[in-house]
C-alpha cells in the first residue's frame, strides 16, 4: 500500500459542538492537500475507525493530530492520553481544546446539576424521569457509558500539548495557512514554530485589526447591541457596547466587529494575557466615566452577566477554572 509511506493524520472531537470539524471541511479544495500529503488514520466524524485500531498503532506513529473539544468525561480523557502517546504533534484545535469554550461555562455548576437539568426540565420529554446509569447489565454482559467529571478541563490541563490553534471555530484561512505550513515542513521547505506556540492566529489583539475609529472612551452606560442604533464607523466599546476586542487575540480579521457585532472573544486571550477576564475587567474599568460608587454600580448593571461576558470562552482556562459550586459539590 503506497499510502503507508505518507505521514499519518488524525482528528478527534471530545466535548465540543462539531463546528471545528465543519471549519476543517470549509477549507474547500485545500482538503485535497491533506489527502495528498497525509494518510488519514483516525477521524471519527469523517471515517470509520475504532479506538482499538488506534490502540494497536505504535507510539508516535501519527505525525499530526488535531484535537478539538474539552475534557468533560473519562472517555475524553482516555482518548486524549491515547492520542498524546500515538502522536508526534498534538494540536489543541479550537477554543474548546485551548481554553474550554462554551462547554467550559458549565464549570459554573456542579456536574450533578447539569445532568439533572439535561434530563429534567420543562422542555425535556422524560415522563418517567429516566436517568442514565453509569453501567447496566444486559444478557450479553455489562455496558457502560462515560463518566462525567466535576468540571471540564482544557486539553493541556490533561496532557502535554505541542501547539494551540484558537478560534470558535478557527477561521478557514488560518487552517489553510497551517496546513500549507505543515506541508512545507514535510518537504523540508519550512520549520515548525517553537513548541507551545499559538499557530493560525496573530500576536496582537482584535482591536489592532479592527478598523473602527477610536477617540477617547468614556462610558456612562453599557448597552445591548439590539437596543441602540450603531454608528457603523465608531469603536463599539466607545458606543457603550461591551466589546471584548481589547483582550482577545487577533487572527480573525476582526470579523464580528467589521460586521457590526461586538467581539465576544472566541480567539481567546491575546499574547501575554494570563487571565482573559481579568484583562477585560481592567479594560472596562478604565473606560467607565464615573468616580462615584453608586453610579458605578448603576453603570455595571448594564453588564448583567459579568462571568459570562468576561469568560464566555475562557472559563475552564482561567485562573479560577470553575465556579465555587462546581469545586465544592463536584
Amino acid at each position: 500500500m503506497t499510502d503507508n509511506a505518507k505521514p499519518k493524520f488524525a482528528m478527534y472531537w471530545a466535548a465540543s459542538c462539531g463546528g471545528c470539524e465543519i471549519a476543517v471541511l470549509n477549507i474547500h479544495e485545500k482538503i485535497l492537500d491533506v489527502d495528498a500529503n497525509f494518510e488519514v488514520v483516525f477521524w471519527p466524524v469523517a471515517m470509520d475507525a475504532k479506538y482499538k485500531d488506534v490502540e494497536a498503532m505504535e507510539d508516535g506513529s501519527i505525525l499530526l493530530t488535531l484535537f478539538n473539544g474539552g475534557i468533560r468525561n473519562d472517555e475524553n480523557e482516555h482518548i486524549a492520553r491515547l492520542l498524546r502517546r500515538k502522536s508526534q504533534l498534538l494540536v489543541a484545535f479550537g477554543s474548546c481544546a485551548c481554553e474550554g469554550c462554551i462547554p467550559g461555562l458549565a464549570n459554573l455548576s456542579p456536574a450533578g446539576e447539569i445532568v439533572h437539568t439535561a434530563f429534567n426540565t420543562v422542555s425535556t420529554d422524560n415522563p418517567h424521569g429516566i436517568y442514565p446509569r453509569a453501567s447496566f447489565d444486559v444478557p450479553e454482559g455489562e455496558i457502560t457509558i462515560p463518566k462525567i467529571f466535576p468540571t471540564l478541563r482544557t486539553l493541556d490541563q490533561v496532557v502535554d500539548v505541542d501547539y494551540y490553534m484558537p478560534g470558535c471555530p478557527p477561521e478557514s484561512h488560518q487552517i489553510g495557512a497551517v496546513i500549507d505550513l505543515v506541508v512545507k515542513v514535510l518537504h523540508g521547505e519550512a520549520q515548525l514554530p517553537p513548541k507551545g506556540s499559538v499557530i493560525g492566529a496573530g500576536n496582537s489583539t482584535v482591536c489592532d485589526e479592527c478598523t473602527r475609529k477610536r477617540n477617547v472612551k468614556s462610558i456612562t452606560s453599557f448597552k445591548r447591541i439590539y437596543d441602540v442604533e450603531i454608528d457603523p464607523e465608531l469603536c463599539l466599546l466607545e458606543q457603550g457596547i461591551p466589546c471584548n476586542g481589547p483582550a482577545t487575540r487577533s487572527g480573525c480579521n476582526a470579523r464580528c466587529v467589521s460586521a457590526g457585532a461586538q467581539c465576544i472573544g472566541c480567539y481567546g486571550p491575546a499574547e501575554g494575557v494570563v487571565d482573559y477576564g481579568a484583562r477585560l475587567i481592567a479594560a472596562f474599568a478604565s473606560v467607565i466615566d464615573s468616580t462615584d460608587p453608586e453610579e458605578i454600580e448603576a453603570i455595571l448593571d448594564g453588564i448583567p452577566d459579568p462571568a459570562g461576558q468576561f469568560y464566555r470562552f475562557n472559563l475552564a482556562g482561567s485562573l479560577l477554572k470553575a465556579g465555587k459550586p462546581a469545586w465544592e459539590k463536584g
Binding site: R279, I296, E297
Partner: protein
Amino acid sequence: MTTDTFEPTIIGFTCNWCSYRAADLAGTARLKYPPNIRLIRLMCSGRLDPTFVFKALSSGADGVMITGCHPGECHYLEQNYKALRRFHLIRRTLKGFGVEPERVKLVWASAAEGAKFASETASFIEEIRSLGPLNWGKSGGGRPTTEDGDSPSSVLRPQSETEEVPA
C-alpha cells in the same frame, strides 16, 4: 463551614504612598491586629491588576483586601478611582462564579490612619473567618461523580497520576 480552627489567609495590596504607610504606622504604633494578612506593596492601587486578585484566590487565599489613598488623594491623580471601578467589577464577576463577593474588600487609608488600617484589617479577617475557607479546587478533582467512580484525578490542581493506556 466555620470552624474554631480556621485561620483565614488574606492577601492585602497596599499603595506605596498612603495605605502602606498606614500599615507601617500601625506597626510602629504597636497596634495589634491578627497575623492572617500578607501585604504586598504596589506603587498605587491603580496598579492592582484584577489578575492579582484571581491569582491570590486560586492560590489559597480566602480573601483579598485592596487598599489605597482616599479619593482625590491618589499620588497618580485618578488611579484609585480606576481601582474602585475594578473592585466593583471583580466583586460582580466573583458573584457570577458563586464566590462570595465579600471576600474582596476595598479600604481607603491615609498615611495617618494606622488605627483605621488595623481595625479594618481585623474586621475583614473576622468577616472571612465567618464566611469560612474558600477551598478553591479542594473537592472538585477530576473524579467521576458516579458512586462507583474510582479514578481520582484533579481538575483544578495539576494532574498527579497517569492513566495507563494500552499500547
